[in-house]
């Protein structure tokens, strides 16, 4: 199949930065990179003309409960950069801790990432350093600062009356 070649190519491009490389599906490649290597890895994908940035999504992985047999013991946030080429999907994954949720902006390489980065900042509270426009994109103007709705810890805002009473 064609995608096997593409996945193979992507793996050889990204091997240098990959902390952990996985194949969750035959047409997919997941490469965990350090945030300091994100720009270099993205540049390498673009330089090699390996597909295009299809989506950027966040993921909140809170610390699992004791009963859970997951490998990771500490909670973290993750930014996933999905690149597509034909049927192949390569995902660059960057893990960041809650208390230092910073990642560099890739807009200098892929200008259209700006909308995704703004979304990531608002919904997950991952701070994208040097993103060209840090303004709010999707949440309402009156949405409180520092509340990130797609984090697992977010279970809803207080009712307006209650919030008013408290303040």
């Amino acid at each position: 199949m064609e995608y096997e070649t593409f996945i193979h190519d992507a793996e050889s491009i990204l091997k240098k930065w990959g902390k952990d490389i996985q194949h969750p599906e035959p047409n997919r490649l997941d490469v965990y990179v350090e945030r300091t290597d994100l720009l270099a890895a993205t540049q390498a994908i673009i330089d090699a003309h390996w597909g295009y940035l299809s989506a950027l999504s966040g993921l909140d992985c809170p610390a699992p409960k004791a009963a859970d047999d997951q490998a990771s013991t500490e909670g973290h946030l993750e930014a996933l950069y999905h690149f597509c080429r034909m049927a192949a999907v390569t995902t660059l994954r960057v893990k960041v801790p809650y208390n230092d949720a910073h990642i560099p902006s890739i807009c200098s390489i892929i200008p259209s990432a700006t909308l995704y980065e703004r979304e990531l900042m608002e919904l997950f509270g991952i701070i994208v350093d040097d993103t060209p426009v840090p303004d709010r994109l999707v949440l309402a103007d009156e949405w409180p600062e520092g509340v990130y709705p797609l984090r697992k810890s977010f279970t809803g805002l207080d009712a307006p009356e209650k919030a008013a009473q408290e303040s």
Binding site: R28, S54, S57, P111, L115, L137
Partner: protein, 391 residues
């Protein structure tokens, strides 16, 4: 200070109760020419991705179908296919064929709807009325098969809800013949009518390189010669059996976007006919466990507006851990802010509808500001302004 007073900012949008994707744009203008454009989205941000985390997969299927009011079936197909992949379930060829049929019927109604809206923004209301009248043919087909005009509820996780009878096939084929004739007429109009071409030719030109850098998708990208179509690149459901011929145009302007979408309609008719004439046999549904095994999956489909991307993560429970939906319009918005620069304010309505952002309404409030004074315009006024400007 002097400079800032001379700067005009024309905010367009955001709100209209009937608009599916209200967006707020601010165009900075120097006289007639647009010098920069910014976007503010989120006026209909309903928190669907968050909501999905607390609902079962079945409930989510119905919810994701309602992400979009025009292309509803693509969402449920992307979600259902993703969940089926996680569950390790394979659906029968008949299920795939019925899903594909609806994907293409949906593309027909979406492109016809867009043609009408785009014609209206250009001040060509006859074409708008014609294409919307003809769109009723495909809406009737939807209703006769699924019972619904918009949210067809075709999919189940692991199958489809209904079969197609010989009478329905006959009716659909007849409808497609009629639509094909009409489409030939529309193709003639948008490529030969000088008045209309005056609004579309060389407007909103986007080169292949620009389209690639800006990550444009769907017909917007294909009208700039970018080979990007998930149906061809990564065939899903029945597309391996009914291959699609990708429609490309090197024009890169609005006119090319019209041509690409209209030519795609012919492809839709051809694929629908092929499916209806050789509908494969098979069970309509298979059993899917309520708990979906842990894993992550990406699911890509070609919506009428371009690539739709789903990322689904399951922790092995009854509800998904995370569902990411990246709709094609989000990719195409970014082309607006770049392409708008250098164009005339009068071109903005056409330019915006050129990417087909579900811009189905008018009457949107527009405020023209200059320093401390402000003047209020409605979207309808801006449209009229555009039409008058080109008279």
């Amino acid at each position: 200070m002097q400079e800032s007073q001379e700067k005009f900012i024309v905010p367009i949008g955001p709100q209209h109760p009937a608009l599916k994707e209200p967006g707020h744009f601010e165009f900075t203008v120097d006289g007639e020419n647009v010098t920069s454009a910014t976007i503010r989205l989120g006026f209909v941000h309903r928190g669907i991705e968050k909501l999905a985390e607390s609902r079962s997969y079945i409930q989510n299927l119905y919810m994701f179908e309602r992400v979009c009011g025009i292309c509803s079936h693509v969402h449920s197909t992307a979600f259902a296919s993703g969940v089926e992949k996680l569950a390790g379930v394979t659906v029968s060829p008949r299920v795939k064929a019925i899903r594909t049929l609806f994907l293409e019927l949906e593309r027909i109604q979406s492109h016809l709807l867009w043609l009408g809206v785009a014609a209206h923004e250009g001040g060509f209301d006859t074409l708008f009325m014609y294409s919307w009248r003809d769109r009723e043919t495909v809406m009737d087909i939807h209703e006769s098969i699924s019972g619904n005009r918009v949210h067809h509820s075709v999919n189940l996780i692991g199958g489809v809800k209904f079969d197609i009878t010989p009478e329905q096939i006959e009716k659909t084929l007849k409808g497609l013949d009629y639509l094909e004739e009409r489409t030939k007429y529309y193709e003639k109009i948008v490529t030969t009518d000088e008045t209309f071409l005056g609004r579309t030719r060389n407007v909103g030109k986007m080169t292949k390189e620009q389209a690639e850098t800006l990550s444009a998708v769907g017909p917007t990208a294909r009208a700039s010669g970018v080979k990007r179509d998930v149906r061809v690149e990564s065939p899903y459901v029945s597309y391996p059996e009914y291959p699609v011929n990708m429609v490309l145009d090197d024009g890169g302007d609005l006119s090319a976007r019209f041509v690409v979408r209209i030519k795609e309609l012919y492809e839709c008719y051809r694929i629908c006919r092929e499916i209806l004439k050789n509908l494969p046999e098979g069970e309509l549904s298979v059993r899917v466990p309520r708990r979906i095994p842990a894993g992550e999956v990406t699911s890509r489909v070609e919506a009428p507006r371009g690539e739709l991307f789903y990322f689904i993560k399951s922790n092995g429970g009854e509800t998904p851990e995370r569902v990411k939906v990246r709709t094609p319009s989000l990719c195409n918005w970014s082309t607006i802010s770049s392409v708008a620069v250098g164009h005339k304010l009068a071109d903005m309505p056409m330019l915006l509808v050129g990417i087909d952002p579900c811009f189905s309404c008018n009457d949107r409030l527009v405020t023209v500001r200059q320093a401390n004074t402000s003047q209020t315009m409605y979207w309808e006024d801006l449209r009229k302004y555009g039409v008058e400007y080109y008279k």
